[in-house]
Structures are given as C-alpha cells and as structure tokens.
Symmetry: C2
Subunit: 395 residues, 2 copies
C-alpha cells in the first residue's frame, strides 16, 4: 500500500538512532553522566552572540510580514548579496548574488544539486569514507553513487583510483572536506591533482563533469589549516554550504547552493537548481533565518572549544595506543578497531559505556567514528574508559 | 548538461512572477500606490503577538543548542504532543503524537505524502480549480495528476464526475478546502458523498485509496463556516497542514503531516512518510519555529481583516455586475471573465492597473484569481478601476 523503498529507508533504524535509544536506557540504569555518548554530530558549542542579537533585533520590526513573509524561491536578494560579498572577500573570487540559491541546509543542497544535474544513466562519485546519506540523496535524483577508495591511513585522494573510477557516465563528484566521518581536510596538492584528472577526463569524454563540494565543516578547522575554495581550482564547481556547524544552527536548516559563475552557461545550471528545488517541495529557505544570515555571515561559533577537545582526545588515544588520523577539521575522530572489526569494537566500547559509531555505513570497515562535539569535561571523564577499552585487547 | 525537466520548470517564468516584475516596472512609472496588485497570496495580516513573544522568550534560554540543535527527523516530541492535543480538542478525534511528522510547510507535506504512497502506475486525483504546484509535486513522486471537473459555478464536488474519474490506479485524492484559487469550502454534504464514493471504490478494487487533505487555509474562514475535519469522515486520511496562513508565517516553512491512526497499519504509512522526508533531503523542520508552534498552536492571525476585505470586494464586484462565487474561506476571489477569456480579461485588467492571475494554470479557463490579502485601503482605492473595467465590456 506504500512505496516500498520509502518504507524501507523510513523504517530501518539507523545505528546512530539505536545508540541514542541505548544511551537513554543505559543512562537510566547507571546515571546519564556515566554514559559517554560520542555518537552524534550535534554541535555543543553555542551559536555566536550575533545570532541571538539578530533575532531579537528582527523582532523589533513593526511589520511582521516583512520578517516572516515568503521570500523569492532563490532567497532574499539582500541576503544573497551579503553572501556573495563575503565569499569574494574571503576567497578572492568573483561570484554574484544571482548564482546563489538559498536552501534548507546541506542535505537539501546536495539532493537539489544532484536532481538538477541528473540525466538518464548518470553516475555520481564520492570518496571513502563518506557521509552515509549521499547514497540516498543521489538515488532520489535517479542516479547511483559510486564509491572511490582513498589512500590507506591518510584518507587523502588516491589519484589513480580516482582516475580509474571516472567513465563516460560520470556526471559529478561529491567531495566533503573537512570530511565527516574522518575529519580529514584534502590538501591543496590533492585538490590540484584531482582537478587535473577532471580536466583530463572532461576532454577525453567531451562533456562536463561537475564537482559538488559539500562543505558544512569549512569553518571548523584547526592549526590554521586552509580548506581550498574549489571555485578557484575548477570551473565546473557547485558549492553546497550550510550554516549548521559554523553558526551551531543545525536544526534551523539554513544554507545555500552556489553555482560557480565560471561554469560555461552557468545560468542553465542555476535554472535547473531552481527547478529541482521546486520539484522537491522547497518553497523558500526559512525567512527569519535568511535575515539572521545576512547579519551573521562570516561569524562563527567558538571553534577553539572543538580544537581543545580534539587535542585532548587525540593525544590521549594515541598515547594509549589507538591508531587514528589526526583530524584537521570537523569534530570527528576516525579510530581504527584494534581487532580490525568495527562492530566488535563498537560492542566492546559499549561495555565501557563508550558509545561510538561503527564505520561500515561510511563505506570503510574496521573503524569507529568518535564525535567530540561534547563537553570537554565529558572527554576528560571518558579517558580512563578509553584506556581500559584498549587494554582489554591486550589481556 | 542538466536535467531538462528541472531546467524547464526552473526557467519558465510563472505568470505570477511576470506580474510581479510588471508591477515593479509599472509602479516606477505611475507610483506604486497606483498599481493594484492582487496577484500574490502572501498574507498581509501580521502574525499574532504570541509568535513574537514566543521567539523572544525562547531567546532567553541560556543554552542556544537547545533551541537551534537538531530535533528528531519526525520533529520534537513535545511539539507533536501539543499539536495532537489541540487537534483532539478542536475536532473531537483521537490522534497521537506518533502519527505526526513535522515538515517544512504544506508543499513539502504534499510532496512527501505522494512520494511515500506512490507505487508504479499509481495516479492521484484532484478537483478543479486546483493549486498549480500539485502537478509538480505528484510528478516528483513518479505519478500523474488527473484533474476532476467540479460543479459549474459553485465548484462543489461533482459526485458523478468523481466516481467516473477513479480507477484501479487511483492511489490518492488531493483535496484543498478552503480552496486556492476559488475560496470555496467543500460542504459537509459534499464531503460525505465523496467519502461514500471512496469507500465504494475501495471495496470495488480491493485496495486503499488515500485522501490527502492540503489545508493551509483551514482557519481562514468566514461567517462561522465549518471545515469538516476529514479524519472524522474517512479512515484513510492524511492531513497536510501548514501554519503559513493561520499564523502569517509563510516564509518560515513550518507545518506537519498527520497520518490518521484510523488507517489500518498506519505505522507503515508513517514510516514511508519518514523515508520520503529523508529521501527528499528534509532533515528536520526548522527547530526554533517548531518550538514557536508549541506555544502558538491554536492561535491565529486576525482573520476578521480578511473577512472585511472579502465583504468589501465581493459586494462591490457583484454590484458592478461581475460573476463570482462568494468565498467561504481562504483569501481569494475567483472572478469570471466577462469575455469568457481569462487572458483577455487579465490584459484588460492591466490597462486599469488591476493585476490578477488568469485561471488557466489552475485547471479552469475563463476566470481570474483576485488575492485580497492586501490592505483594505488598497481595495477601497481599486474599486473605481474594477467598475471601469467591467464598464469597458459594455462600451
């Protein structure tokens, strides 16, 4: 009586959801402060003050319909001007407000972009490990997601594997840097090589291959690491941005698609984005939040808290003997299972009240994702359990 | 290089958009106060005070992550409890929070519902005149929209035409009462007859036929008219609700899907709704607005302003000799073209600086839609032009 695919993806309990329920039940048994939940990527750092200030200030507007009324489907032009100016200033490029389409967050942005581009038979590629939902979003567009292996241990792009994965059906490549779940930032060197391969393959097949950059973690980076702005490296780029992490507003669903004006006939891509947004039932991005963005673009939450958490957790885990890449961004640590089996490690972690996400759904077996967007004190109190956990492999 | 369907629906300028541009240009010529724009359904009545009060109060929460963090995909349970209680109290039914799924407004709700239900070969029906976008939303699900004629002049359901339109492929019927663009509220008698036909056809084909009730105008009704709550009339009902009009929040994109718990195995439908929401890139409904709804559910904007506008405009137009149904709800008047041609009437209206939407895209030729969600004073000043317009047909 219902669509079986939708029923399937709607009824299947995700591992993260199961962990959430387990954490609640276990917390009731032993006290919630004794359950160390590292499973969820919900920012714990508060939104910067400008968010609250902007909202309260907007509430002083005497005509509420100016705040809460429909904006155009593409988003308020004033907001898009602010974003274009900020992008141009920060990354030294020349985008225009007319190439920006406001969205209900990054998930919407990727789904709309894939739907806008998809033609029959098209494939999209992404690199492992990857954000699980890409498979769902790309399928909504009608396409398959093809997963490209990366370099062992560093998870940087493996150029030969990438070149081998592209064929005449490749419509786009989804990249996510800083990466969820690994925290890896693709180096400028990696990016340049990847773009060179794309140029080479575009010439070989006589067609455009788009780079779709999903970058909600752009501002969550450490030690002054630079995340290359792809519009400056490759013409056929579409940026999918979200303010969820930069401004700690994940529930508000606010972000944008930026269609690079360097794409030949970029307006055609932009129109297709508008059409896909319409087809998927998006009328406009939330209007109050659009106006908040106009006032807060360029601000960020206090990322130094994540940096402190990363250093504390990474240094301790490495000292205890765990193997993991030092993350340059996002708020995840991708830790190798001492047994090589992610589920075994996940289950054993639970016995020490450490809740982590097994990596298999991210396209790589043998790891867990540890989300450190938690109170620093939680990490401090959890460290002895991490120690006991690895020691349990040595008994 | 892009999806041609998406490009098509994204690049085609809608008539409403064209009118919007025309109004701007014409306003620059003759002064904006002399252009009477009745084309857009953007509520002009302010949001009730509880909206601003709720937002400011929520801003006092010291931990911003509790306000702006992710909610569950289905929406905050507390919010859904408030809605279920309100629905049960107002309409005397027994819905549960677990059958409610918060969405980014009614467009999202209808798109998600159709996608959740669609199986290969399925059709959806709707009655004329109908909200243009249904065709797009249903196509996203994979289905065709079949349009059912209604009674001449009253636009009430034509039971014989309805019966004749249903076949073994009919998966659902989308109804919209109060109706955009006609303002008609389907009478309880119409609803009962329609539901009897649905029961008859379900028995004939041995399958479920769903009633999808798109009701953003539920609270915008006049003279104490009652809008039957369909959960009480037909078991296989899905309500697509939006707060856009009731609370004058159309830009905020907040509403819900209510899967009637009277549907046999309703949880299966609910899971499919969750799956379709996920597939279409909706992560959760905007979190701040969810919490606003928990505090404002049951309140409405001052609907008496629309009632005053309706009376003023309807009485004058009828006195001048126009033909139109007296609307019982929404904020639209569906006016018959004196020439029988909607575009001719629309163009002639423009010559009097009256901007109205030709009806053809709503599935009925020969009318225009006049949106009276404008300042009452605008209507007062426009009346002489409406008089001149009809007189021009008598010259």
């Amino acid at each position: 009586m219902v669509n079986q695919y939708m029923y399937g993806i709607g009824s299947k309990r995700s591992v993260i959801r199961e962990i959430f329920e387990y954490a609640k039940a276990r917390g009731a048994e032993v006290g919630p402060e004794n359950v160390f939940d590292f499973s969820i990527g919900n920012p714990n750092v508060p939104a910067p003050d400008c968010v609250k200030e902007a909202i309260i200030d907007l509430m002083n507007e005497p005509d509420s319909t100016k705040i809460h009324g429909y904006t155009s489907a593409q988003g308020d032009l004033e907001v898009r001007k602010v974003i274009a100016d900020s992008v141009n200033k920060r990354f030294g490029c020349s985008v225009v407000p007319e190439c920006i389409y406001m969205t209900v967050g990054a998930a919407a942005s990727v789904t709309i972009s894939a739907s806008a581009l998809y033609e029959e038979g098209d494939e999209f590629l992404t690199f492992v490990p990857y954000f699980t939902e890409y498979k769902v979003f790309v399928k909504t567009a009608g396409a398959d997601l093809k997963v490209v292996p990366t370099q062992d241990k560093t998870f940087q792009i493996d150029i030969d594997a990438f070149r081998a994965a592209i064929n005449e059906h490749t419509k786009g490549v989804i990249i996510n840097s800083p990466n969820n779940p690994s925290g890896v930032v693709y180096s400028e060197e990696s990016i340049k090589k990847m773009c060179a391969v794309l140029e080479e393959k575009q010439a070989e097949y006589g067609k455009k291959i788009f780079l779709i950059s999903d970058e909600p973690y752009r501002e969550v980076v450490y030690d002054g690491v630079e995340v290359p702005y792809l519009v400056n490296y490759y013409d056929n780029t579409i940026i999918c941005y979200s303010y969820s992490k930069a401004l700690s507003l994940p529930g508000e669903r606010i972000g944008y698609i930026l269609v690079s004006p360097k794409i030949e006939n970029w307006q055609d891509v932009y129109f297709a984005v508008c059409g896909a947004g319409r087809a998927l039932g998006y009328v406009c991005a939330p209007s109050l939040m659009q106006k908040v963005i106009a006032r807060c673009e360029g601000s960020t939450s206090d990322v130094s808290i994540y940096a402190r958490n990363r250093n504390l957790l990474y240094n301790a885990l490495v000292e205890y003997g765990y193997e993991c890449v030092k993350p340059d961004g996002a708020f995840y640590l991708f830790v190798k299972s001492p047994s090589g089996d992610s589920y075994e490690f996940y289950e054993r972690g639970k016995q020490h009240d450490l809740l982590m996400v097994p990596s298999d759904d991210f396209g790589v077996p043998g790891y867990v994702r540890v989300a450190y967007c938690v109170q620093t004190e939680t990490i401090e109190r959890a460290l002895p359990s991490f120690k006991k956990l690895i020691d349990s492999y040595r008994d």
